[in-house]
Symmetry: D2
Subunit: 345 residues, 4 copies
């Protein structure tokens, strides 16, 4: 029988955890050997928390416990846990020798000082910040084999960095104008916590901007774009859509003289020629959330007003999949040396 | 200048309270002189709680305080407060001499013993239960002038009793088959409390039955239909719709021999000939939630299979208006002797 | 290399066709060799019609043409086509020798005379009606191997017959009261045709009953329940939910004396002991649409008022999967002798 | 009895027409004397087209006919009709001597040449384009009394021009960066026509940009901002939200040196000091669609990054009210010399 790597999921009660578990349960090369909640309490059947999983698994979800995790001898540990929780537990999980994929924001920023401002806690593992691989899979596929700590990117940054990174590197963006990212996300992005901002009546038939100029994904996007020191050159505005899942980002840039739409498309084609999960819209249609919802893809497209050099980039992902769980699995697959798409497609 | 009655709203923070306030602010005969929250805390502008009301009022919403209410010398007190709160405060409010309209369930059931089973508390004012008028306006218009305590009906019961009461009284329902009420409500019916059952992601793109065989509106419907002692003859199943506001009830009855659709329509026409807020659908179209949402109407219609005597009654209301705030105002208007539709249409 | 059966999908432009194609593209034992539209026009890329499929396939979708289908030498033909289209084309497709799975309603009713009343056309292949297997997989698994024509059940009937068939056969239903099926479906059930009943604004924030007493799934349900000659004993009322996909049916029955909830659960456990795609809810939770949406399961549960013998059965399916595409694939898998769940789970 | 002006609505079958009629039916100074459809066919009861209006009116909706309109001797004619229809009929309606308020786009642009490019027809009444008042009420209140032709603004332009006009005039916008308007609208903005872009399943749980760089509201916004000749300085991107009604615009501008948030708020307070229907959000909360939906208000707010001079303006309106019907009524009220808010609040 085929050898299968042993995988553990901590943070199994949330939406990302659930979707990750669903993929792991049909993964040909990984075996899900245990799931944990970041909260305390009794062990319960996973299917009590997520009735959707009935028929797929009989596993329990236990309160997180280091020894219990170690006892499972995992090859792979996914942490879909709150920021503070991951911050504390990652150093201990690394000691197990397993590959650790952290879906929280706690190991994404190289500059430890930003954590106090944006996350509200002082980062105590700056050494790990340096070692962690920022797992925007399409750009670090070479670094992933053998990686031990992977900081899985945020959902909004994924939607913005995938189309923008190749363009930034190509030097075709006129820096006299900031990169303006107007992003819209479904409510699963706000997590499972019930409060007035996730109450159905407050969200349905409405739409709003939030955390304007201060969302914690801003420094992550800046870092990804190489604009850490040019924060006047990046504006990121998240909005809340009355849908369950999906992000669409509308990105406004000015191109340097003479650059045309076909140049952007060529740049993307070259960058993503071996990428399974980036789809380039090169016809008249632009990405829409319904095309990526419940899929592991990032769709990208653009419109260019060649007279003025203004370009509008539109990208879309499922925030729980390419923005969390399926990207985590892409990263894990490559770290372990199995097919990038295993369990995903 | 025209004399205007002085009105107070307690429970101003909820959805029913908000909609009631909005109507009071344009009422020609009533003046809103104060609003209160059932919770403690500081006074805040109503418009901080309900930004929708900006431009209509500068009133504060204060924590509830008996003396403060009395100090306002109200002619009319609306309680859009939790059941336990109304239960405790109604006796004191009645002492003020004001007309009290209670939107909670605490004074709706004549049989005090049912409160323990369905509401979880022992009722301590059985005398008031006898005196309270159950304010299903269309059937008690004669009793309302001069009334001092009005128990405003529940939303589901309103949707069911308006079409069913005339049919029950007409004796055209075959009792060998129970009255089966399959009702569906929007999420405002669950109130403003944020929990897993009102979380956007748990409601959107889903649908479910809840409190099957044990919803507290069951005894209220039974009382209204005169089936208190025939509970085997009533089935009520509430469901949660992924919409903000509105109820649709599909009611299954068997008619006695020879009764035809036209008999039902005639019965309704006679019963509601002087009702402003009941609309009878006598063509091929049946009521739909979108026709009553944001309106004070109860729409009723029916389809009859004359071969078998099976009839399906369909009714619709806005749960926050005819199911709460606008019916409360109909009741208050009639109690005070002003036009039934004032402030409503 | 593994032998794979050659599959063709006609009616590839609709929602059921799309979901079926998505499953076929990852099926280990079937190869999708061609797709067709029931409408005329030019061949176009499938991904132009369904951008969701980008990255999965490069197939064209061609206007339907008998010779073109035959030229593909299919082992299996799925018809996700309109009723009249299937009615005409099934006899010709059967001649190819391929297994034909028809997702339309045209071969579901054994009594040819009902087609004129419910479908508006005279059925010209009564012989095929007799030979067709009504593919409610869980009840005909033994008959499927080697079957040549499978009439795939309707979505509403699937949600009703799966829980009800075992109870009908067990003889525990009191026939003095009709079986009342109050069903609610998402909008994909209405198909892709744009009209006032599928317009976003007419559906969103609303809810309505439709085709009361005359929906064409009524005779199909009656046939499945063995009530063809007792139509006074079945009431079926479909409603339109403001969601994309999913059906929930609330079914009201009276049990014969002494029958308890545990008897219903036992009856189901026995009936579905070898069924992969029926999940029995035997705890306090009832099925909800979100548990089955995007899954191939039928969830069933019940609440019984043992004092009165009244039972409420609640079932849920995804109308495009267990109500169409995944059930079609279950049927095809069994007909061809491969694993029932292949390509589905 | 009070004198009431006689009003007619053409284009009564659409969503704007319906909402306008609802307001007219409770207007103290206007009497709705007739309604017309822009399509041909038989006269039908308005309540057949809009069951929501049942109980408010018994009027017929007749196919449009010039003589029939004239026969009603109207003081006021609202045209909520398609662009081409208004273009043709406005000159004739003006001859009646009535005040004409055209809700279409056909008389909004001063430059007749733009009609061919953006609306697809050659404008044949350039003289009327010059005479028409562009009815963004808050800025033309002085010009409206006695006006004979009012071009009611588009929904998107209303949401953008109300907050932006005062800022443009104040000269506090740094023109080195374009004004970027990222706007999002509910589906009523797309009208009542059923097609794939308004199909529930194509809209729900999705989100998309459309008409990028070429929406016909672009020249209208440019004209309003005084940027007709600086089209490189304006970017407008409309998006479709899965909601019924409401627009939210997120507008990105760079401020000239030293300008602060308080300057923007002061500028708005001065500009709108006598405006009934503009609400300035000067606290920490920004406008959201739910605050303006079903209201006649335009809500405006802003956030400024004072370090970089980047400002984000957020505005919201109900596209059918302030973006169409209630603004039309504001304009009509002022043209006829009655209270601006009559029938609206």
């Amino acid at each position: 029988m085929k050898h299968r790597f042993r995988a553990v999921v901590a943070g199994a009660t949330g939406y990302s955890g659930r979707d990750l578990i669903r993929m792991l349960l049909r993964h040909p090369d990984l075996e899900l050997v245990g799931t944990f909640a970041s909260s305390s309490g009794d062990a319960v059947k996973l299917t009590e928390i997520h009735p959707q999983l009935t028929g797929y698994t009989d596993l329990d979800c236990r309160p997180f416990n280091e020894e219990a995790v170690k006892g499972l001898k995992p090859d792979l540990i996914f942490l879909a846990t709150p920021n503070e929780f991951s911050h504390e537990i990652v150093p201990k999980m690394i000691e197990t020798g397993a590959v650790v994929v952290d879906l929280s924001g706690s190991f994404r920023l190289r500059d430890a000082r930003l954590y106090e401002q944006y996350y509200g806690f002082e980062h105590t593992s700056p050494g790990l910040l340096e070692r962690a691989i920022y797992g925007l899979t399409e750009f670090v596929a070479d670094e992933l084999p053998g990686a031990k700590l992977i900081a899985n990117p945020g959902c909004y940054p994924t939607s913005i960095l995938i189309p923008m990174n190749p363009l930034m590197r190509a030097g075709i963006i006129d820096e006299s104008q900031p990169v303006i990212c107007d992003s819209k996300s479904g409510v699963t992005g706000a997590g499972k916590t019930a409060n007035s901002t996730t109450h159905f009546v407050e969200v349905s038939e409405s739409f709003r901007a939030y955390n304007v100029f201060k969302h914690r994904h801003t420094p992550e996007i800046a870092q990804g774009l190489g604009l850490e020191n040019r924060t006047d050159n990046l504006i990121f505005t998240p909005h809340l859509l009355p849908i369950n899942r999906g992000i669409l980002s509308t990105i406004y840039i000015r191109l340097t003289g003479g650059v045309r739409r076909t140049d952007l498309l060529d740049c993307w084609r070259e960058s993503f020629k071996s990428s399974k999960f980036v789809r380039i819209f090169d016809g008249s249609q632009l990405p829409e959330i319904k095309f990526t919802a419940n899929t592991p893809f990032c769709d990208i497209g653009c419109t260019v007003d060649e007279a003025t050099g203004q370009a509008i980039i539109v990208s879309s992902i499922d925030n729980l999949l390419k923005g969390a769980a399926s990207q985590a699995l892409q990263n894990a697959n490559l770290a372990l040396g199995v097919d990038e798409g295993a369990g995903i497609i």
